[in-house]
């Protein structure tokens, strides 16, 4: 590579030196790659020991206790109570995802259409709940929705109702709290995709005589689909595994799978059965992730990394 053109060697010499160069380069490259592997090895070993192995060992328990068996899985799907929990979990996650999308889409649209200084200001309002711990936000909803909570007091005060409504520990409370808690996970990907949409395309459509609703339906909306997909994926997967909120504001009939797992471990000490439930939850989450990943690619889900 560094040979100067002044001393051009004979063709055969050159071939040999080229081969040698390639060998040296390859060896150097291997040395560099080895260094990278050394950098990444500590965390891989760490996660393998403190995360990968424990999770796999736990999953293994579901088919290996007391002996090789699929009974624990059979029990989940055979017992109507447990099958119902799975169904409720999927149902709540779906409703939460759809409602979150319907509320977040216009907000993200507005954020993407105002100037970036205004958008940054409004974004702080979106991020304030994101910054606050889920426990604190769930507690806030308990305060708001309680029998003598703020909403009931307010409704009685303005005279709409005479008796306090039962809001806390209902399905409605789970929806209201989960949508508020998960909304930033929908707004952020929507906003980042919408921000990247070329406004000239819409102006062009307008110039060609499209009505505003047509411009939205045929230009803007299709271009925002990657954001919708990423946001829905995040919200849906997070909903499936949600624990704190359904445990605190949900009713006795709104047990989600994470709450059931916690009961099985901490109250009933039925560890193999809890492991089987965890395996079902994990399979569901990974399946959905794989489907979306197929459509989108991981990079787009985690906020985009230029390659």
């Amino acid at each position: 590579m560094a040979q100067s053109p002044a001393t051009t060697p004979a063709p055969s010499d050159m071939r040999r030196s080229q081969a040698e160069n390639a060998r040296i380069l390859a060896r150097q490259r291997r040395a560099v790659q080895l260094r990278y592997i050394v950098l990444v090895l500590p965390i891989v070993l760490y996660l393998a020991f403190f995360y990968g192995y424990p999770v796999l060992a736990m999953l293994f328990r579901s088919i290996n206790e007391p002996t090789w068996t699929l009974d624990h899985f059979a029990e989940i799907f055979r017992t109507s109570v447990y099958a119902h929990v799975l169904w409720i979990t999927v149902q709540i996650s779906l409703v939460v995802t759809v409602v979150t999308l319907l509320l977040a889409y216009p907000l993200a649209y507005l954020l993407s259409s105002v100037s970036s200084s205004k958008a940054n200001l409004l974004m702080i309002l979106v991020l304030v709940p994101f910054w606050t711990s889920i426990l604190v936000r769930t507690y806030a909803w308990m305060v708001l929705l309680g029998r003598f909570g703020i909403i009931n007091n307010f409704l009685i005060w303005i005279g709409i109702i005479d008796e306090p409504l039962r809001l806390l520990n209902t399905r409605l409370a789970v929806y209201i709290a989960m949508v508020q808690i998960l909304m930033p996970f929908m707004v952020l990907p929507l906003y980042s995709v919408m921000r990247g949409i070329d406004r000239n395309l819409m102006r062009a459509a307008e110039g060609l005589g499209a009505r505003p609703d047509q411009v939205f339906r045929r230009i803007f909306f299709p271009l925002s689909l990657p954001g919708i997909a990423a946001g829905c994926l995040l919200v849906f997967i997070l909903s499936l595994g949600f624990f704190i909120t359904p445990a605190l504001v949900g009713g006795p009939k709104d047990v989600m799978i994470s709450v059931l797992i916690e009961q099985q471990v901490n109250t009933l000490f039925n560890w193999p059965f809890a492991s089987a439930l965890a395996a079902v939850l994990l399979a569901g989450a990974l399946l959905i992730f794989a489907v979306f990943n197929r459509i989108l690619g991981v990079e787009n889900i985690f906020g985009g990394t230029p390659s």
């Binding site: 965390i43 304030v128 308990m142 916690e262």
Partner: protein, 289 residues
């Protein structure tokens, strides 16, 4: 021809920008309501924490600092807060070191299995927390370290590393490697180059990742629910127990403190992220221009 096609567009778009049309107005109203829905529940806790009443009632009948006094005078609350704080500090250091090293390899390296390693490292973000929690619980129960701070530290570090990796890799993608070549050309060794050239440039990403790691541990409840035992009760765990058994306004006081602490940390992280984004675009513009 061009002027006739351009004119109707101009005529149409100018008045719309000046006077908000009906759909635009509806959009404003709708978004205002959504923003209130997002922010109000967080803010409502704050006045409650200064209530003079013995139970939760709104509006508070009078002003009092009794719930803050209650928090600061009770050793179980204070010791939980102290434990949470130092555990989070250790987690932050461990996760930042491990995560930053891994990020360098993931962005620069082209070794076989890189994609797989990347997926493995960020996978704690996707796997539901309850699954990680019970896996770790069963494992630690066998090791006999449930209820010890070391259990929390090791578990929280595993959960925090992905946040460091996501933040640092984002900064590294915009990094101009020629700066490192220049440093090494001038006689710096690898370590000196990293310490004096690479690290100062990617610092916003590293610091943002560190803050995320801190908050991940500081706010973490689900793993703590299983492995805190009675010996290592963190602040979220203490709050959870307290919310389950009695709702007194002490929780409101603790929540207010948490909102302030976590809020200011996230705010700093966000500022750092913005700064690193600016640096990144600056590099791109420079290269293009």
């Amino acid at each position: 021809m061009t002027s006739t096609t351009a004119r109707p567009a101009k005529v149409q778009s100018t008045p719309r920008r000046q006077l908000p049309s009906l759909p635009r107005l509806a959009l404003y109203v709708f978004c205002t309501l959504v923003l209130i829905y997002l922010v109000f529940p967080v803010l409502v806790v704050i006045p409650l924490s200064f209530s003079s009443a013995q139970y939760l009632t709104f509006p508070p009948p009078g002003f009092s600092l009794q719930w803050y006094r209650n928090f600061f005078e009770r050793s179980d609350w204070i010791s939980a807060a102290i434990l949470s704080f130092w555990v989070a500090c250790v987690v932050m250091v461990l996760a930042t070191i491990l995560g930053t090293l891994a990020s360098l390899a993931l962005v620069r390296g082209r070794f076989p299995g890189r994609g797989l390693v990347n997926t493995f490292i960020v996978s704690p973000l996707i796997v539901p927390a309850i699954i990680v929690a019970i896996g770790i619980y069963f494992f630690y129960a066998r090791l006999g370290i449930v209820g010890q701070p070391i259990a929390l530290i090791t578990a929280h570090t595993a959960l925090a590393v992905p946040f460091v990796v996501v933040n640092v890799t984002a900064t590294l993608y915009g990094f101009d490697e020629r700066l490192e070549f220049a440093a090494m050309n001038l006689g710096a060794n690898r370590l000196q180059t990293f310490w004096h050239v690479t690290l100062p440039i990617i610092r916003p990403g590293v610091l943002a990742g560190a803050l995320f790691a801190f908050i991940t541990s500081w706010d973490e409840l689900i793993v703590a629910l299983f492995i805190s035992g009675t010996g290592a009760v963190t602040l979220p765990r203490k709050m959870w127990d307290s919310i389950r058994f009695q709702i007194d306004p002490t929780i409101a006081a603790v929540s207010t403190l948490l909102i302030i602490i976590t809020g200011s940390l996230f705010f700093s992280a966000e500022m750092l992220r913005r700064r690193s984004e600016r640096l990144r675009t600056a590099v791109v513009v420079e290269e293009e221009g």
